[in-house]
Structure formats: structure tokens, C-alpha cells
């Protein structure tokens, strides 16, 4: 009985933290949907955005720090597009893959250089307001992170569904040539996608910082890997898929950690990915018609 409670508890914690993975996964999926390219530096930029928001941490109240992180993420997303995508040939996916890997390494190194390799504390909210539901216990800061993630996702979906910009993004993702014939600039859409994904990534970076309590450049690679896993399990280019898969991965990760310990945890997460690739290679939600 006690273990069952503990199991459920770890699933709840994992679900709440999984919203971070969901946001990172959405970022990968958005960029892939529109450009059919993968931006491997995405999770690193998210962490970098959270770091940048620490600049204002002593000046403004905590909620504004999160907004600063999102804005910094947007600016960084735009810069990544300029440096790693704009001038590279569109028909060679390998070159953008490598340029974003280079960027990932550069960002990681830059962060550890500037911070001298020391992890920095990140402000959290509602740390002391924990909720008890019968036998279960919900951490206030994790719940807040979860709520923040949900707000970001709802905002994104509204943006894609209701605005002209969102319409253009979806159109370019579906049929770039037809979209161009209807007068939508592909380059403009690509830039705006990177900025939107960057805003989300900045939020995700801030959420990770708030949930973990500290920021470290070592967060970048695991977040990249988990984000990619989420993207694939959810189905490439599918936003609802990324959300569901993010929550699943978060919950399962915590469950595996509870059952098998932290050193074996990721083995099972990766095996889960393999099971998905073998039995459902298209992911949970098949993507809508692609570019080809």
C-alpha cells in the first residue's frame, strides 16, 4: 500500500515536471514542422535564455524574471536562425545539423566560461505553499511550473489557430510552395517560427531553473535528448503529440527513477523510445501532411 502511494506520488511529480519537456518538444516540433530541419541548439538556447534572465533577478519581481527569460529566448531564437540557418543551403540537412551542433557546444561552453562552471540559483515561486491531497503531496513550485507550461501552450495554440501569423506558419508547414503563391514570405515565416519557438524555449528554461532550483550548463544536453525523445514519441510536427509525450516522458522518468534508481533511469526512458519506434514509428499523433 505504501509503495503504491509512493509510486503515484512519483508519477504526479514527474507529470508536473514533464511540462518542461513538453515545451522543449513543442519547440523542436514547431521548427521541424515549418522548415523540416532540426535545431539541435534549441535546448541550449533555452538554458541560455534562463541564464540571461538572471541579469535582472535582483531588480524586478520574480514573475518578471520569467517573462525576461521568454523574451531573451525569442531574441536568441532569432539569432540562431540568422547564424545557423539563413545562409545555409536548404537542400542539405546535414549542414544545418552540424551548424546547430556547433552552436550547442559554443553556447554550453560560453555559459560555463562566463559563470566559471558554478551552478547559479534560480528563483522559484510558491515554494512553501504545498498542497496535501489525502495521502498525496503536491509541491507548490512544481505545480506553478506546470501551470506556467499550460499557459504557454494555450497561448501558442491560440496564436497558431487565431492569428494571421499562425495561419501563415501552418500553411508554410503544409505546403511551402502553395503558401508562397498565396503571398506568404517563407523567410519571414521561418524567422517568426524561430522567435515563437524561442519564446517557448525561454519559458521552458526558466521553468527548468525554477523546478530544479539551480541553473547549470550541464542541463543543456539532457534537455536536448529528452526534448528529441518527446518530439519523436509525440510524432514529428504534432503539437498535441509533443504535449502528451512530454507529460508521459516526465511521469515515466520519475517512475523509473523511483523503481530502479537514478543511474538506470534513462536506460528505460530510451528503451521506451525504441518500443515506440518499432511499434509506432510515426509517433502518438501522426503529423499532418508534410512538405514533400
Amino acid at each position: 500500500m505504501l509503495t503504491l502511494i509512493d509510486l503515484t506520488q512519483s508519477v504526479i511529480d514527474g507529470l508536473l515536471f514533464g511540462s518542461t519537456y513538453a515545451l522543449i518538444g513543442i519547440g523542436f516540433t514547431l521548427i521541424f514542422g515549418v522548415m523540416h530541419k532540426i535545431n539541435l541548439s534549441y535546448a541550449a538556447t533555452s538554458v541560455a535564455a534562463a541564464y540571461l534572465s538572471l541579469v535582472v533577478v535582483n531588480i524586478v519581481p520574480t514573475p518578471l524574471v520569467y517573462i525576461a527569460a521568454a523574451l531573451a529566448g525569442g531574441v536568441l531564437g532569432w539569432m540562431i536562425y540568422l547564424v545557423c540557418f539563413r545562409f545555409l543551403p536548404i537542400n542539405n540537412p546535414r549542414s544545418t545539423l552540424l551548424s546547430t551542433v556547433g552552436m550547442l557546444l559554443a553556447i554550453e561552453e560560453f555559459i560555463s566560461h562566463v559563470t566559471h562552471g558554478m551552478p547559479l540559483n534560480y528563483p522559484a515561486m510558491f515554494q512553501d505553499s504545498n498542497i496535501e491531497l489525502g495521502n498525496f503531496f503536491i509541491r507548490g513550485d512544481l505545480l506553478f511550473v506546470f501551470a506556467l507550461g499550460c499557459i504557454a501552450m494555450v497561448a501558442l495554440i491560440q496564436l497558431l489557430k487565431r492569428t494571421r501569423l499562425g495561419l501563415a506558419t501552418r500553411a508554410v508547414a503544409q505546403q511551402p510552395i502553395a503558401a508562397q503563391l498565396c503571398g506568404m514570405g517563407i523567410a519571414t515565416t521561418n524567422v517568426s517560427t524561430f522567435v515563437i519557438a524561442g519564446l517557448l524555449g525561454g519559458t521552458a528554461g526558466a521553468m527548468t531553473g525554477a523546478a530544479v532550483g539551480v541553473l547549470s550548463p550541464l542541463l543543456a544536453l539532457p534537455l536536448t535528448v529528452k526534448g528529441l525523445v518527446v518530439t519523436v514519441i509525440g510524432g514529428l510536427g504534432s503539437i498535441p503529440g509533443a504535449i502528451v509525450a512530454g507529460l508521459i516522458v516526465g511521469a515515466c522518468e520519475n517512475l523509473f527513477q523511483f523503481m530502479r534508481g537514478v543511474s538506470e533511469r534513462d536506460i528505460y526512458v530510451m528503451l521506451m523510445l525504441f518500443v515506440f519506434l518499432v511499434f509506432r514509428p510515426g509517433g502518438l499523433f501522426a503529423a499532418p501532411g508534410g512538405r514533400d
Binding site: S95, L98, G102, L105, L271
Partner: protein, 299 residues
């Protein structure tokens, strides 16, 4: 002099690693599994010489064969998918292998004390080369002989029918399939050969380093493996060698005077090379693309 001999060893090992990725990239697949095969080769060959006292060359061959077998088995399900999905699947594979060795504990008592992989503490005491009195120069000869053999075989292979098939699959899968090329055979054979070469490189690395641990075999290593051929250009084998010398010799060692900044510069220089030579350093035509091409998104 010792410094340059040591550097030559590293360059040789990384050339083997880069060549293993070259095989897979040649069929148009981007695989981040090379680090995993490297780890398998390193651990297997290391265990062969320390625990079972095999001769070095047999142990290296065994490491390569085990890595090849694993690549063959993993290749079938993995190569059904391609593009980004394959990148993610192979990343996951590398991580599984790394974490497997992170948790692997297999200690055997010998006269010199306990040897074998010791979980998170790593696998130390792979002292075959020092105990058999190999000098740094002789190790270099061994490594570069292996590099030469692999380079020559791949060169011959590239000019044979198999190389043509691989290249056809890499250029255009649909066209290759429509003229009757078996995609699965081409991809899995390239993957298995790549696995074997990576395993060989891993075995050499284990004996060169004498201490290996899971941290040596992270995603970063796999990224390096595919970075060499892509940076050098896939159309020639020499490009891979050039890229290894460029990265290991120039970026990581030559820029040592820059202190901590050199690892930062490393990432930036990869981005710069991709900007000016998006198809690799040694590819035709020899001009800087950024000056001749328009914006990427516009076409």
C-alpha cells in the same frame, strides 16, 4: 616530441572513428550511434586483454566483431526510419550503451589484483601496452597501420560495386530503389561496417588511455564522429582525415594558448566552416558559398 606522438595517436583514433561515421553517412543516414559502438569496442577489447589475457590484435578484432554484430542487430529496426527519427533513435542507442557500461560491474581477481569494469568508477588498469613494453612510437605505428588498412579498404570499397550501391542510396533512395537496389541490405551493411570500424577504434582507445569510463562515450563523441566526415566533405576519404587533423590538431591542441576560450571557439568554428563550406571542406567547386549563394529560405 612525446607531445606530438601522443597527439598523433589521438588523431589516428579519431580518424578511425570519423571513417566509421563516413560509411553510414555515405548511405545518406545520419547516425549518432558511433559513440556507442566505440564504447562497446573499448570495453570488449579491454576486458579481453585484462581479464582473459588475449593478445592485443585478437582482442581488437573481437571488439570490432562484437560492435559489428550489435550494429547488425540494431541496424534492422533502426534503419526502417530515417532523417531526424534516425538521429534520435541512434542518440538513444548511444545513451543506452553508455548507461549500460555506467552500471556494468564485472570484477575478476587476478594475480595483480581485481580487474574489470567497476560501474561508475570506470574500467581502469588496461595495461597491456605498458606491460608488454610497447613504446609510444610503436603504438603509433600500430594505430596508423590500422588507419592505413581501413582507409585503403574503404578507398577500394568506394570504387567497387558496393561503394556505388551505397552512394546511389545516399544520393537518392527512391531512384536507387527503383533500379532494384535493396535499400535494407545497403544501409545495414554500411551500418555494420561502420560499427566494426568504430569498435576497432574503441579497442585501440581503451589500450591507449588505459582507463575508460562511461563519460568518455557521451553524445559528444558521436557528434564528433559525424562532424569529421561532414566537415571534411563526404565525397572523399581524405576530407575526413583533414577534418580530424583540423579539429584535434589545430582547434583542440594548436589553440591551447587561448586557454579556456578554445573550447568555445571550437563550436563557433564549426558554425563558420558550415557557413562558408556547407558541403564540407574538400568538395568541388572550391569557392566560398556564402559569397555566391543567396539566402537559404528564399528559394
Amino acid at each position: 616530441m612525446d607531445f606530438y606522438l601522443g597527439l598523433a595517436q589521438i588523431i589516428g583514433i579519431h580518424t578511425l572513428l570519423g571513417l566509421s561515421a563516413w560509411c553510414v553517412l555515405h548511405t545518406g543516414q545520419v547516425s549518432l550511434a558511433q559513440g556507442g559502438f566505440f564504447a562497446i569496442g573499448a570495453y570488449v577489447a579491454g576486458m579481453m586483454t585484462t581479464i582473459w589475457h588475449w593478445p592485443l590484435l585478437l582482442a581488437l578484432a573481437m571488439g570490432a566483431m562484437v560492435a559489428c554484430a550489435v550494429a547488425f542487430v540494431v541496424g534492422f529496426p533502426s534503419l526502417r526510419i530515417k532523417g531526424l527519427m534516425l538521429v534520435v533513435a541512434t542518440t538513444a542507442f548511444s545513451e543506452i550503451i553508455r548507461l549500460f557500461f555506467f552500471n556494468l560491474k564485472y570484477r575478476v581477481e587476478t594475480e595483480g589484483g581485481a580487474v574489470g569494469p567497476d560501474g561508475s568508477l570506470g574500467f581502469g588498469g588496461i595495461r597491456y601496452l605498458p606491460t608488454h613494453g610497447w613504446s609510444t612510437f610503436e603504438v603509433n605505428v600500430l594505430i596508423w597501420a590500422l588507419v592505413a588498412v581501413v582507409l585503403l579498404s574503404l578507398w577500394a570499397l568506394d570504387r567497387s560495386r558496393v561503394g556505388t550501391l551505397w552512394r546511389a542510396v545516399g544520393e537518392d533512395e527512391l531512384a536507387a530503389q527503383s533500379v532494384g537496389i535493396n535499400l535494407t541490405t545497403a544501409k545495414v551493411s554500411a551500418f555494420a561496417l561502420g560499427g566494426a570500424i568504430a569498435g576497432l577504434a574503441g579497442g585501440v582507445y581503451a589500450h591507449y588511455a588505459t582507463h575508460i569510463e562511461h563519460g568518455n562515450f557521451g553524445i559528444l563523441l558521436s557528434t564528433f564522429a559525424i562532424a569529421y566526415p561532414i566537415l571534411g566533405g563526404l565525397s572523399s576519404l581524405a576530407g575526413t582525415l583533414l577534418a580530424v587533423v583540423f579539429i584535434q590538431g589545430f582547434l583542440l591542441e594548436g589553440l591551447r594558448f587561448m586557454g579556456d576560450w578554445r573550447s568555445l571557439l571550437f563550436g563557433v568554428l564549426i558554425v563558420v566552416v558550415m557557413l562558408v563550406r556547407p558541403n564540407g571542406l574538400l568538395t568541388r567547386p572550391f569557392k566560398l558559398s556564402i559569397l555566391h549563394k543567396g539566402r537559404a529560405g528564399a528559394e
